[in-house]
């Protein structure tokens, strides 16, 4: 029995395959018909059906600004912790991207070599880049490439042109920005209150 039999769009499987891996579906993504998938989920008729369908298997479709992703209902704390650890690395990456002369924002197109060049020319950026833990990245360019690969893998970027090594920033990047913006840093207090941790994440 296929998805269509439940009145679901026939791309349901594709949608699930992407989002169940923790990836995002962005409206400006072009690879593998991502924008089409976005349009399908964004269609109110489909959205409700898909939401209902995925809720059964304890997935919830979350809507961001021009992107969708899955959240799990009652996720284990250990998983959340793991996710936070993964996210931690992005803080430095976003910090680096936001410090560039040509700020990297949604829809920006860039090549790793451009970023590496700018980092090479700017000590501050170089330090920021060096601070990002990436194993086996011997040169700055390789490090930036690794970052881009990582972000592409996590569906924040898209490798638009392999020949020119041109990446495009997808709408899901907003998720990272929102996460960063949601971080509040509090002064450490002497008490042992559980609310006194350094970083509070929403």
């Amino acid at each position: 029995m296929g998805a269509e039999d439940y009145g679901l769009p026939k791309q349901t499987h594709d949608i699930f395959a992407i989002m169940a891996r923790g990836h995002f579906i962005s409206s400006n993504g072009t690879k593998d018909g991502m924008n089409r998938l976005y349009d399908i989920i964004n269609n109110p008729e489909n959205f409700d059906k898909l939401q209902g369908y995925f809720n059964v298997i304890r997935y919830n479709i979350e809507r961001g600004n021009n992107y969708f992703y899955f959240s799990r209902v009652n996720e284990a704390n250990s998983l959340i912790e793991q996710k936070l650890e993964t996210f931690e690395r992005y803080i430095d990456v976003i910090d680096l991207f936001a410090s560039m002369d040509n700020k990297i924002t949604i829809g920006s197109r860039f090549r790793p070599s451009e970023i590496a060049e700018e980092c090479n020319a700017n000590v501050r950026l170089k330090q920021k880049l060096q601070k990002i833990p990436m194993y086996r990245s011997e040169t700055l360019l390789n490090k930036v490439r690794d970052i881009c690969n990582l972000m592409t893998r996590d569906s924040f970027l898209e490798l638009e042109d392999e020949q020119t090594e041109s990446y495009k920033v997808l709408d899901a990047y907003t998720y990272l920005m929102d996460m960063i913006n949601a971080i509040s840093i509090y002064e450490e207090t002497t008490g042992t209150d559980s609310n006194s941790s350094g970083i509070i994440l929403n």
Partner: protein, 1227 residues
């Protein structure tokens, strides 16, 4: 020699590694030779005769080309001799850069080509040799096509038309194709695909396939454009466009403002730098002017004051003199000087009277001189005593008088002294107060003048005037811009209306044309249907009957029969010999009657013609649509550009008006500010002034009061002093008078005593005189007279000194008083004049000083402001990125005075830049987000690099604006709509073209099936039957292509109109378009998945066989791997080939052309049994086909062929081909 046309022989001269070979082919021929000896090469050379296509001979790409391999030398010749009904001719092939042909109207003769040394001659020699012999040789035939036309009898040149092998029809190309296909098929298994390929390849040209790469490219292009447009029309994208547009305006405005400000800053800086020294100089000059003015004024003041002092001294002198004179005069008056002077005037007269009295008295007393003497001496003594006493008293009185006088004098002196002192004190005090009052008064006057000056001064006049001028200019420009905008808006409306009307016209014309074409197509389709109906029923109808049974019926019945009757199936025609050639028994001469009936070909032709008409109609509609679109696009381009430009102009004008409006408001506010500032400056100055005036007034009042108090005080003091003095004097006088009166009383008493004693003496004398007779009475009277005179004289003598002084004073002073007063008044007037002059000069000086001070202060303030500004610029601005951003504008600015100071401009620029950066960041983000929504190589060219400059971002926004203004999206939609139309149309046309040949395939398959039926397999019972049938294709891509074609047929050409159409009224079209887009997308995916390069004719159908060999029946299948033994397989394959060849030759040759034979070249038949081979050769022979086969070695099979040639490789590497002597056991 048979009476048929056939390739009789092939001669190779210097071909490949064969020096010379002459091979006869006029019968089944077999080549025996080991592999790589050249069997296949020879077979290829034979095939080239039929195909004349050097590329389609099965030579691998890696191998040398046909030309290179076969025609190595300039004297390489390939000669084909063709036997005909009467005389043989040959055609030679040689290389003249490329391969060329010449037909020679003579049987082949080696002498034509070989010289005496058996060496091949060059072509020129051969030609001249032939010409010498009078043999016709054709011109060089340069193209394979022409050669084929000649060989297959379609050449129109009469000289060449005789050189044909057979007379082909328009499909003659199938013959070489079929022969080639048989030769090239080497698979042992029988696969329907091969047969399909065979049939399809025979029927189609190279171009009659649907190149999927091309379709995929078209689909991709369409899909990309469609996706781009879809992305563009999305709500979020439109929102982003609005945001970009808005932000761009803001950024642009901010940038403009920043640039303007930078320009002002630059101007101010240049001005400050240029003017610094000048202002310093000007300030210095003003200071000098001020000093000069002060000096001049001081000098004037000094001179006037010195004059005033002199005058005052004069006045003082005269005043003093006058006062003293008056005082003396008053004193004289008090002493009754007039009376004294009058009495003094009588002195001489009294002296004379006294002398007279004395003489009279002496005369009277001359008789009684002794008595007289005695008594006179006594009296005299008494008198002397009395006088002494009086004198003593007088002296005492005098002393007292003098003493008191002295005291009085002292008192007076003291009074005077104290009076003077007090006066001096008063004068001093008064002088201080007066000078203070005067100073205050001057100040007061100055302030008053200043107030007057202030009231007349227009503060910030320059700024206000500049602003007023600017406002006036701005209003004038705004007015101009408003009218221009109104004009342009009108033009926009006009152009829009024009554009709309043109669009409507185009739309209507397209729709009319579409309707018209569709109607026409429907009509033609109906006709086709009718023809097809006829064709379908013709077998069973009267027509089919006539075709089968009546030879040349078109010439007879065809001229008189009703066409409808021909296709009736219900009239059961029968041939009755007795009525043959008559019409119901009536003979007619039909020679001159036109034929009514049509041949099947003619019907087919008519159908094709109509199909072509439909194609033409569709093509014409397409062209019309394309032209329509083109026109639409041209209009869009023309009007869009105009509109875009106008709208841009309107926007620019609106923007400049908006800016002007803002500027006007700003200037208005500034003007008001300046005015208010000027007013408040006046008020401030006036209020300062007034305050000062009030203070001074108060001070003056206080001073006046003080003065009055002082005056009063001094007056009191004076009064006290005077009272005291008067009291003291009165006291002294009183005491003087008391003492004197006491003395006078004493004196009087004493004098009385003396007088009584004198009287006693006088009486005694008188008594004595009487006694002596002297008139005592007269004497008494004389004495009294003398006494009175003496008294009068004494009195006169008493005032003599005063009178004398008075007269002297009168002469010296009193008489000159009027002159003195006159002079004093003159001096007073001069003094007043000088005071006025000084006052006026001081006022003027103060005004001028104030003005100069103000100017100097202004210069100083400006200088300070400039220096502060320049310092601020150097310390706080120059090192910032903002400076670098606008450095060029700042550095290039013209020196000019502005209304803003440098510091404010720097601060504002820094502040604005931060705002600008914020806004610009947002603008950049929107542009990135917008561009990111599109593919990197989107056809709108919405692409921005991450490291793009500000200029590039701004150009992006400008281009986007132009895009919107020129309504380019409509153009793009129109283009895309046309494209989808063209794509579907192109697909439909191709599919139609291709599937149009399905009929042919069906026809061929039917013929093949029939031919299989006809095969006389029964004799050997080897193969019971070979059946073949056609089925629908299961090719996914083709199915989709077909669906698209059907869709296109169903919905016509203009469903593309609905693309992106949001109009409810035409919503239906949108749904249709949506389906079209979906179908195209499916097709694209299928093409991608399938990895098929093209859809050929063979993909349109499936072919199935059913073969029964002995007891084995394969059943309906696509592919028969093995029917029986390999030999059986080869046999079946060969049978199928021969059948195919036969069918194609029959189909492709003219009906009249029957006397010809062709060759079927099948290389390896070594594994076939002799029995089978005989069957095969017989099967071929029955179909006028000669077999050319290859055998690896002699096995007895060769004995079934008419000609057998053996191949031997010589030591030199050359191959020798020679006939083998065998006995033919022909089938």
């Amino acid at each position: 020699m048979e009476n048929v046309r056939i390739l009789n022989r092939i001669v190779e001269i210097n071909i490949a590694n064969v020096k010379y070979a002459d091979i006869e082919l006029c019968g089944n021929t077999c080549f025996v030779g080991t592999n790589n000896f050249g069997k296949t090469s020879l077979q290829r050379a034979i095939l080239f005769f039929y195909s004349a296509n050097s590329r389609g001979l099965g030579i691998a790409q890696s191998q040398k080309s046909f030309e290179e391999h076969y025609f190595r030398y300039e004297n390489s010749y390939l000669i084909y001799e063709i036997a005909t009904e009467d005389k043989n001719f040959f055609v030679m092939v040689y290389r003249h850069n490329k391969l060329v042909f010449r037909f020679v109207d003579a049987p082949f003769n080696p002498d034509f080509f070989l010289n005496n040394n058996d060496e091949a001659m060059k072509i020129k020699e051969i030609i001249s040799n032939l010409e010498k012999r009078g043999v016709y040789i054709s011109n060089q035939i340069d193209t394979f096509e022409r050669y084929r036309n000649i060989i297959y009898g379609t050449e129109t040149d009469k000289q060449l038309s005789k050189f044909h092998l057979l007379k082909g029809n328009e499909k003659y190309q199938n013959i070489p194709k079929s022969i080639t296909n048989v030769f090239l098929s080497s698979k042992s298994s029988i696969d329907s695909r091969f047969i399909k390929d065979f049939i399809a390849n025979s029927l189609t040209t190279e171009n009659s396939s649907i190149k999927l790469e091309q379709v995929e490219r078209q689909l991709r292009q369409f899909n990309e454009k469609y996706t781009d447009i879809e992305t563009y029309v999305k709500k979020e994208t439109q929102q982003l466009i609005e945001l970009i547009d808005k932000k761009y305006d803001q950024v642009h405005m901010l940038k403009g403002a920043q640039m303007e400000m930078a320009d002002k800053l630059g101007s101010s800086l240049r001005f400050a730098e240029n003017q610094n020294e000048a202002i310093r100089e000007a300030s210095k000059k003003k200071e000098e002017e001020l000093e000069t003015l002060t000096t001049e004024h001081e000098a004037l003041k000094d001179s006037i004051e010195s004059k005033q002092n002199d005058i005052r001294e004069e006045i003082g002198y005269y005043d003093r003199t006058i006062r003293e004179a008056n005082k003396k005069l008053k004193e004289y008056k008090e002493k009754n000087i007039d009376e004294a002077v009058e009495k003094n005037a009588e002195r001489e007269k009294l002296q004379v009277e006294l002398n007279i009295a004395r003489r009279e008295y002496e005369s009277l007393t001359s008789n009684v001189s002794s008595i007289e003497l005695k008594y006179s001496s006594l009296i005299e003594q008494l008198r002397n005593d009395k006088t002494a006493y009086i004198n003593k008293i007088n002296s005492k009185t005098g002393e007292i008088f003098n003493h008191y006088n002295e005291l009085q004098l002292l008192q007076k002196n003291e009074f005077s002294k104290r009076d003077v002192e007090l006066k001096e004190k008063r004068d001093e005090a008064m002088g201080d107060v007066t000078s203070e009052v005067t100073a205050k008064q001057i100040e007061f006057n100055e302030l008053k003048s200043e107030e007057k000056v202030i009231r007349n001064t227009r503060f910030y006049e320059q700024e206000i005037k500049a602003l007023e001028n600017e406002l006036a200019e701005l209003r004038a420009v705004s007015y101009k811009n408003k009218s221009e905008r109104a004009i342009k808006q009108n033009m926009v409306q006009t152009i829009q209306r024009e554009w709309e009307s043109l669009e409507t016209r185009l739309k209507t014309s397209l729709s009319n044309r579409v309707n018209q074409t569709n109607n026409e197509i429907i009509r033609v389709k109906n006709e086709i249907k009718e023809i097809e109906g006829k064709l379908n029923v013709q077998h069973d109808a009267f027509y089919g009957f006539l075709e089968k049974n009546v030879k040349g019926w078109h010439e007879t019945i065809g001229k008189v029969v009703n066409e409808k009757l021909l296709f009736r199936t219900d009239i059961s025609p029968e041939v009755k010999e007795e009525t043959a050639n008559t019409l119901y028994g009536i003979s007619l001469n039909l020679e001159n009657v036109e034929i009514v009936s049509k041949s099947i070909e003619e019907y087919q032709f008519e159908k094709n013609e109509r199909l072509a008409t439909i194609r033409d109609l569709e093509e014409s509609l397409n062209q019309f649509q394309a032209a329509n679109n083109e026109e639409k696009m041209l209009a869009a381009d023309k009007f869009g550009k105009q509109l875009g430009e106008l709208k841009e102009d309107v926007k620019v004008l609106s923007y400049s008006l908006e800016l002007a409006d803002k500027r006007e408001q700003k200037l208005g506010v500034e003007l008001e500010d300046w005015k208010t500032k000027a007013g408040s400056e006046i008020e401030e100055s006036l209020s300062g002034n007034r305050q000062r005036l009030n203070i001074i007034e108060e001070e003056l009042t206080i001073l006046n009061k003080k003065k009055n108090l002082l005056v009063n005080d001094f007056n009191t003091q004076f009064e006290r002093l005077r009272t005291y003095n008067e009291e003291r004097l009165a006291d002294l006088k009183e005491r003087q008078e008391t003492e004197i009166s006491e003395l006078e009383v004493e004196k009087k008493n004493q004098v009385k005593e003396f007088e009584s004693k004198e009287d006693e003496l006088q009486k005694e004398k008188d008594t004595n005189f009487k006694s002596k007779g002297v008139d005592a009475k007269q004497l008494k009277s004389v004495e009294n007279r003398m006494k009175d005179i003496n008294d009068a004289l004494k009195e006169i003598e008493q005032y003599a000194q005063i009178v004398s002084d008075y007269l002297k004073d009168k002469r010296e002073k009193f008489d000159k008083l009027p002159d003195l007063i006159q002079k004093k008044e003159e001096f007073m007037k001069s003094n007043n004049d000088l005071a006025t002059q000084l006052e006026e000069a001081t006022r003027k000086y103060n005004l001028k000083r104030m003005e100069l001070n103000k100017q100097k202060r202004a210069f100083d303030e400006e200088l300070i402001e400039f220096n502060n500004g320049v310092n601020f610029f150097s310390n706080n601005f120059r090192e910032t990125p903002v400076y670098n951003k606008y450095a060029e504008i700042i550095e290039r600015a013209e020196p000019k005075r502005t209304n803003y100071n440098i510091m404010d401009l720097c601060t504002q620029l820094l502040k604005n830049d931060s705002h600008f950066n914020e806004e610009y960041g947002a603008f950049q983000r929107y542009v990135n987000e917008f561009a990111g929504k599109f593919r990197i190589d989107n056809h709108f060219n919405f692409m921005i690099r991450n490291d793009a400059t500000q200029g590039e971002y701004e150009r992006f926004a400008q281009n986007l604006r132009s895009f919107i203004n020129e309504n380019k999206i409509e153009l793009s939609i129109a283009e895309t709509a046309t494209q989808i139309g063209l794509v579907t149309d192109s697909i439909a046309t191709k599919v139609k073209e291709l599937s149009g040949q399905k009929d042919k395939i069906q026809h061929i398959i039917t013929l093949i099936a029939e031919d299989f039926k006809k095969a006389e397999f029964e004799e050997s019972k080897l193969i019971e039957f070979i059946k073949i049938k056609i089925e629908e294709s299961d090719n996914k891509v083709y199915k989709l292509l077909k669906r698209i074609e059907e869709f296109r047929e169903e919905h016509g050409l203009v469903y593309n109109e609905g693309l992106f159409n949001t109009d409810f009224a035409t919503g239906q079209k949108r749904e249709i378009s949506g389906r079209a887009v979906k179908l195209l997308e499916q097709l694209r995916s299928a093409i991608k998945e399938g990895e098929q390069e093209e859809i050929r004719l063979q993909d349109l159908f499936e072919l199935k066989f059913n073969i029964k060999e002995g007891m084995n029946e394969t059943g309906w299948t696509h592919k028969i791997d093995s029917i029986g033994s390999t030999g059986t397989d080869i046999l079946v394959k060969a049978i199928i080939y021969i059948t195919l060849l036969h069918v194609f030759i029959k189909e492709s040759s003219h009906r009249s052309s029957k006397d010809f034979k062709v060759h079927c070249i099948i290389d390896e038949v070594g594994q076939i049994s002799a029995h089978y081979l005989r069957e095969l050769l017989k099967f071929a022979k029955n179909r006028n086909i000669m077999m050319i086969n290859g055998l690896p070695n002699k096995s007895g099979l060769e004995s079934h062929y008419r000609y057998t040639y053996q191949f031997r490789k010589e030591d030199s590497g050359n191959v020798r081909i020679f006939p083998s002597i065998v006995t033919e056991v022909e089938a």
